[in-house]
């Protein structure tokens, strides 16, 4: 922590100078695989599914590692879930995170962003807080971009979303963030730390884990906490009841042109010339 304030609770006894950064990683069913709706039509089939880190979270972790390298300190990978969370945390350690915290509770699977954010906030507090928490701008499954912002409210911290560049000024306890808005507009903001920032796709080029990194990861601290007994999160009444997961109906006007590639493109060119009159 920057210039630790005397009396600030610190559960880890190690003295860390520089910035302390959490990087939140969500395990998601690999979007490159075929997603199939489950029998109860409440979610996709997850049995035998391959989990990967949600893509945007890789940009967040890369940003965390760069800030840690520049300012010293600690980058901690944080995830929620069972073996799928452990897997993405090991990958995060191999990329260069210093340690990992897994919040293991099977009842958090399928939880709303609200429950997830509260659980992450309690874990960050239990670890003694931080200067900065980074997360991907949105996940590949629910994809709403709500969790990071909710996390900031649970922690009572400032936040910024859709970051494409982050510069920290640890002495002044501030960071400058460039946010990407609609229509190619960039907003620059300065936040007072501690803060939560969600990182946009393509903000950087995430590094690959080296063999050395993978070997080193095995020796790094990895703790597992239970949301209930370690963090005091009580099972909450669901705020949202899932009725049905569906593939959206196509309300579209599309005319599918079939045949061999030669046939379909011949038909297409004819339609573009005679029907749409755009060629």
């Amino acid at each position: 922590m920057f210039n630790s304030i005397p009396g600030t609770p610190q559960s880890n006894s190690r003295k860390i100078t520089g910035v302390k950064i959490f990087s939140c990683i969500k395990p998601v069913v690999d979007p490159a695989t075929r997603l199939v709706i489950n029998e109860s039509k409440t979610w996709i089939k997850t049995q035998d599914a391959t989990y990967v880190a949600s893509e945007a979270d890789n940009y967040a972790l890369e940003e965390a590692l760069r800030l840690r390298e520049k300012h010293n300190g600690e980058a901690i990978a944080l995830s929620l879930g069972g073996e799928e969370a452990a897997k993405v945390l090991r990958a995060g350690l191999a990329m260069g995170a210093d340690r990992a915290i897994q919040i293991s509770d099977t009842n958090v699977r399928g939880a709303t962003e609200f429950n997830v954010a509260e659980t992450l906030a309690r874990a960050i507090e239990k670890d003694g807080g931080a200067d900065l928490v980074l997360a991907g701008v949105q996940s590949d499954d629910l994809g709403t971009g709500a969790t990071g912002v909710m996390l900031a409210e649970f922690l009572g911290w400032s936040h910024a979303t859709v970051a494409i560049a982050i510069n920290a000024n640890p002495e002044a306890k501030t960071i400058q963030v460039e946010r990407e808005l609609e229509g190619g507009v960039i907003e620059s903001v300065e936040l007072t730390l501690p803060a939560v920032v969600t990182v946009q796709y393509g903000a950087n080029q995430p590094r690959y884990a080296s063999l050395k990194g993978i070997m080193a990861a095995k020796k790094k601290p990895f703790v597992v906490w239970s949301a209930g007994s370690d963090l005091g999160i009580a099972p909450a009444d669901a705020m949202l009841e899932t009725k049905e997961l569906v593939v959206p109906e196509k309300k579209s006007r599309v005319e599918i042109l079939s045949g061999t590639p030669e046939e379909s493109v011949t038909l297409l060119v004819e339609k573009l010339r005679k029907e749409a009159k755009v060629l």
């Binding site: 979303t161 190619g184 903001v189 300065e190 949202l240 593939v247 579209s252 599309v254 599918i256």
Partner: protein, 324 residues
């Protein structure tokens, strides 16, 4: 009551704000609820379209803290409105601004947020909201539980903004909110426009755009060859520029350029909503993709569901032959 949080930029309501009003009017009719709108930092914003809309009230809040967007000020002001007016449903745009404060407001109120909505239904007395999940490949229908209010964000383009019901005479109310206890922990350092470089696709009449389906940078030549044959320009979806196959200025979509050419050919682009909002106004859209479920087919006029590596060379050859 349904509360619409209207968003504005440079003195104008955003297109999405009008869509929110349409959504609220329709849902309000079905649920038997009036519609009110709230505008933060309303001074100087043109709200003509709201003044004739069939809505009950326009609440304007002005303060120095609302001059520049700040989620702390927004959440504080909206909290005050919710506290006084007790809306059953609060809607904002699923925009970079809406998704910057709605999750905080939901936590502050300890109420559910259904983000990324595209539709709604009333079943019995219940409101069912349909939200996009898995990058718009699937929709999840959810029913909010417990006592209201429910918060929702609406994906741009989900409702027709030009179908606002008119004929109303909404009451205009200036609400004053005390911000003195809200510390400033975010300072705006200004807005800038990302450089378009030398690539301005807004005036191109034909655009051929490539996506992740091209698999690697080298294959992008398929796109430039087809664009050449058609006398058009080259564009790209976000994953292509993220992977640095092409510079960022070629990106089409919500964070890149918005285009409306005569002909738009999308090759290997699945059609995430962020891409669709940048090109769906093209006069004629052709999609070439091997995945028949790809959302791009929802906005396309003509589609070929096949291997792009076979289709595109065949199309390029045919166009070249025809043009001599």
């Amino acid at each position: 009551m349904i509360l619409v949080i209207a968003e504005h930029r440079e003195g104008k309501l955003t297109a999405n704000s009008k869509e929110l009003v349409v959504f609220a009017q329709r849902a309000g009719r079905d649920l038997g609820m009036p519609v009110q709108t709230v505008i933060l930092g309303a001074d100087g914003v043109n709200i003509d379209v709201l003044q004739t809309a069939r809505i009950e009230r326009i609440i304007a809040i002005d303060d120095a803290r609302l001059k520049n967007y700040d989620p702390d000020a927004w959440v504080h002001a909206l909290n005050a409105v919710v506290d006084q007016r007790q809306p059953a449903l609060i809607v904002a745009g699923h925009s970079t601004q809406g998704m910057d404060f709605m999750p905080r407001l939901a936590v502050a109120l300890r109420k559910p947020l259904v983000a990324g909505c595209v539709d709604y239904a009333k079943i019995g007395d219940h409101l069912i909201l349909t939200r996009q999940v898995f990058n718009a490949k699937m929709n999840l229908k959810v029913q909010p539980k417990g006592q209201g209010p429910v918060l929702a964000t609406l994906v741009p383009g989900s409702f027709p903004g030009d179908e606002i019901e008119t004929g109303g005479t909404p009451e205009r109310e200036a609400l004053s909110v005390d911000f003195t206890k809200i510390p400033v922990r975010r300072r705006s350092l200004g807005l800038s426009k990302a450089s378009k470089g030398n690539v301005d696709l807004s005036s191109a009449s034909v655009i051929v755009a490539g996506g992740r389906g091209l698999k690697q940078k080298e294959n992008f030549s398929l796109i430039s060859e087809l664009a050449d044959a058609l006398g058009g320009a080259v564009g790209a979806s976000r994953p292509v520029v993220d992977a640095e196959w092409l510079p960022r200025e070629y990106q089409i979509g919500s964070s890149g350029q918005t285009v409306s050419p005569k002909l738009y050919v999308a090759v290997g682009i699945s059609g995430a909503i962020q891409h669709l909002v940048g090109m769906q106004n093209a006069r004629c859209i052709v999609a070439i993709n091997k995945d028949p479920e790809a959302p791009i087919f929802k906005v396309a006029h003509y589609g070929i569901v096949d291997d792009l590596f076979k289709v595109v060379p065949a199309l390029t050859k045919l166009v070249r032959d025809l043009r001599g």
